[in-house]
């Protein structure tokens, strides 16, 4: 049987469910498992209910499951909320002094979490490490790996030692009493070195690998950790990270920095992006490259600040008054986030346009295992700079020179004596304000021309399962994991279905898409929103008929089961 171990750690905000979960996830990843972990938390700092979900498999996984195999309940509420979802052989672990009534009701495995912590580590507060140990003890997990992860996680050596002791105590306790190792075969897992990282980390690493030297961003969930990660590394990587007064300042600073010649970025969520759309047009008009990471969350307005949605797609594609080319990418997982962010910088500079990378709360905050990035594969395309030769000759440099590709050679201020002149007004090739119809028409055509090259550079969608099928499930961005899993399960059930998944969503590679999705098949689009935005986009760009949509807009990510249930209801 394939491995599919589903662990949930639940508790109040501030109780440490996140830390327990993260350490477990990391340990499994280090063992060589494929791991996916997501966080469900409220917009508050203490109290309420949070949980951290982990899935451990022996092949790719990037979707949540509603079923739980092991539940670690840090409070009473976690039991009542999650026990009903325990699977056939599911077990719950809780502290010894849990209400006996509950223990009986749910058949809870109790562990003296605080008592062991007090006894073995001299600190009740290390109960969480006992809990970690307990889970691993039940599984007979490699205890050296576990200690290593705990060691890496806690900095100061005094704490490390006691936490390891606490974990060991939990381990031994659970191993003796609650051995479940036979149900989950971890012994055959190959020790492959993988990374465990979330979408934010992968995007930040992608930006840094691409040579992003400037990040101006105003904090906003779910993208704030990108700022914090890059700020932590700013001094070492000669990067400026600035938190300005608002998002409007942020994007304009990035545009200013890009004008000066560095790769520049801003990150935000839908609300911040809404404030940036005038500047999006400024980037379009002045042909100044800029990369914007838009971490979607459930809208409109403030909506559900810590919940996920794919509700901003058509907005991103059409944002700002007037018309100009842009690109929109939507990574499907952490690994993808790394490579697409790099591509975003390349496209932004090659075409001198704004590029939007759409993540969402689910992708940004969930942890994925990924093959270690092969940095030799990072490709940098800075577009059409002036050659040394041209620079020498230039007396009257024209920033917006009309060329067959629509791309104008780009000089930078102080790189030569060429003056770099640009304008948010409609302008001449020289960058100066104009009023006449002829120049206007030529400049619009010049800018729009860039779409042709850009469209050619957009990769076609990825196909999973057979290349042709009776039914195509179609998705975009972060919902990939659940869609992929659903497709696999449906194929097992005998359905002739494949998955066509988009991560380069605008400009849509229309021809390739029609080639892949045309013909007699039925197309079902699944997306995390209420109005089927991608389905509409797909239809309007290709004319393909969409047979139905699977939508979810409760702020929670898809599960494969949800998709399968809805799809089955629609199939003829």
């Amino acid at each position: 049987m394939a491995l599919d171990l589903r662990i949930v750690v639940g508790g109040e905000a501030g109780q440490g469910a996140q830390t327990i979960g993260f350490i477990l996830a990391k340990a499994f990843a280090r063992l060589g498992c494929h791991v996916f972990a997501d966080q469900d938390y409220e917009s508050r700092i203490r109290g309420g209910h949070n949980f951290f979900r982990i899935r451990v498999r022996d092949s790719h996984v990037s979707a949540v499951s509603e079923v739980i195999d092991i539940l670690v309940a840090l409070n009473r509420e976690s039991l009542s909320l999650h026990c009903p979802r325990l699977g056939e052989n599911g077990v719950a672990i809780a502290d010894m002094n849990t209400d006996p009534e509950l223990v009986r009701q749910y058949g809870i495995l109790t562990v003296p979490l605080s008592d062991l912590a007090a006894e073995k580590a001299g600190n009740k507060l290390m109960a969480n490490s006992v809990a970690i140990g307990s889970v691993m003890g039940m599984l007979g997990f490699n205890s050296e790996i576990l200690s290593g992860v705990i060691k890496d996680h806690f900095q100061s050596s005094a704490i490390v030692e006691n936490n390891i002791k606490a974990a060991r105590a939990g381990y031994d306790y659970a191993r003796q009493r609650y051995d479940r190792s036979s149900s989950y075969d971890l012994s055959s897992i190959m020790r492959i070195e993988r990374m465990l990282l979330n979408g934010n980390e992968s995007v930040a690493l992608g930006a840094m690998a691409a040579g992003c030297k400037f990040l101006a961003a105003y904090p906003m969930t779910p993208s704030t950790p990108i700022i914090e990660f890059m700020a932590a590394n700013a001094a070492d990587f000669a990067t400026v990270v600035i938190q300005p007064e608002d998002e409007i300042a942020a994007i304009h600073m990035a545009i200013g920095a890009a004008y000066s010649g560095v790769r520049a970025m801003t990150v935000t969520s839908g609300g911040g992006f809404s404030l940036m759309v005038e500047a999006l047009g400024l980037s379009g008009m002045t042909e100044t490259p800029v990369v914007i990471v838009e971490g979607q969350r459930a809208g409109p307005a403030i909506g559900l600040p810590t919940r996920t949605e794919q509700g901003d797609l058509l907005f991103a594609v059409n944002a700002s008054h007037g018309e100009f080319p842009r690109a929109v990418f939507a990574p499907s997982c952490a690994e993808d986030g790394f490579w697409l962010t790099i591509k975003a910088f390349n496209m932004a500079e090659k075409y001198q346009i704004p590029v939007i990378v759409m993540t969402d709360h689910h992708l940004a905050s969930s942890y994925f295992t990924a093959e270690k990035f092969d940095l030799s594969g990072v490709y940098i395309d800075r577009g059409l700079p002036l050659s040394e030769d041209e620079m020498g000759k230039l007396s009257e440099y024209k920033r917006h020179r009309i060329t067959p590709s629509g791309i104008s050679p780009r000089a930078l201020p102080m790189q030569s004596h060429a003056l770099v002149v640009t304008d948010s007004d409609e302008h001449s090739e020289a960058g100066h304000i104009i009023e006449d119809a002829e120049t206007r028409t030529r400049m619009v055509a010049k800018r729009m021309k860039k779409l042709e090259g850009l469209r050619r550079d957009m990769a076609p969608p990825h196909v999973f399962g057979p290349k042709t099928a009776d039914i195509s499930l179609v998705g975009w961005g972060s919902s990939f994991g659940a869609l992929h899993e659903a497709m696999g399960l449906l194929r097992q059930q005998g359905l002739n279905i494949n998955l066509v998944h988009f991560t380069e969503v605008w400009p849509l590679p229309a021809q390739e898409t029609t080639d892949l999705l045309g013909g007699d098949r039925k197309i079902y689009v699944a997306e995390n929103n209420a109005t089927g935005q991608f389905a509409r986009l797909l239809n309007s760009e290709t004319g393909l008929k969409i047979s139905g949509t699977v939508l979810k807009y409760d702020g929670r990510p898809f599960t494969s089961q949800y998709i399968i249930d809805r799809l089955k209801g629609m199939l003829p």
Binding site: F237, Y259, L282, M414
Partner: protein, 286 residues
Amino acid sequence: MTVVNLQDYAGMQPAWCPGCGNFGILSALKKALVDLNIPPYNLLIVSGIGQAGKLPHYMKCNTFNSLHGRAIPVAIGAKMANQELTVIAVGGDGDGYAEGGNHWIHAMRRNHDITYMVHNNQIYALTKGQASPTSDTGFITGTTPEGSPPQINPLALAIAADAAFVARGFAGDVDHLAGLIKQAISHKGFALLDILQPCVSFNHINTYEWYSKRVYKLEEEKKYNPADKTMAFNKSIEWGDRIPIGIVYSKERPVFESTLKALRNIPLVKQPLEPGKIQKLLTDFS
């Protein structure tokens, strides 16, 4: 060393009205740049939108004509990416103090090393005469037929925000203004230069004559000390029969760019792009 002359800065024919105060500001700016011997290719002017915002087109240097209210964030972004550039932001009173007010306050507090010239004609001129935040209290325009609300005092706000250099000039006194521009550019840190600028088409109250009668030079006041914040604040709120021009407040404090390790050595734009450099970070994730 190159010697810069006025001709080097000659740009397009201005589309301003004959007699507009902006001409005086344009002359003063060119004069200051020539005096400072800053070559056009080392200078960046970022403007907002408005009559004042058109200034870069009438110069010849690196220019970025930004959106209404957005000269400052573009200017400081450009400066952070290449601190070798001399960066000037220019715009109108509406542009800078209304639409762009937030950027202005925060750029002053962070102390980015740029010069900000505000052509203060106390009116929205390009849009044909609506009230600006500096319009005289009670000033009647198409959008304020019952009189403008109380005017703001940009100098007082700048001092409250602890701007490094706060001065007021008058477009009608080009030489004096040129002197102020030179000092503003030379001062390390955010330099606000609010410039009284007659608009002959839409402001028939605050005219050349109106200003000329009222302005007096602070440097001629014996006891005035622009390093004294209380004195500066009191001076800044003077507006009426007498209007001070000159340096109101001046202070040495660390510029934002100098506080970041990434900028201690060479400008960002000269830093190499090294994808391989993140290798060492990757190990943290496994």
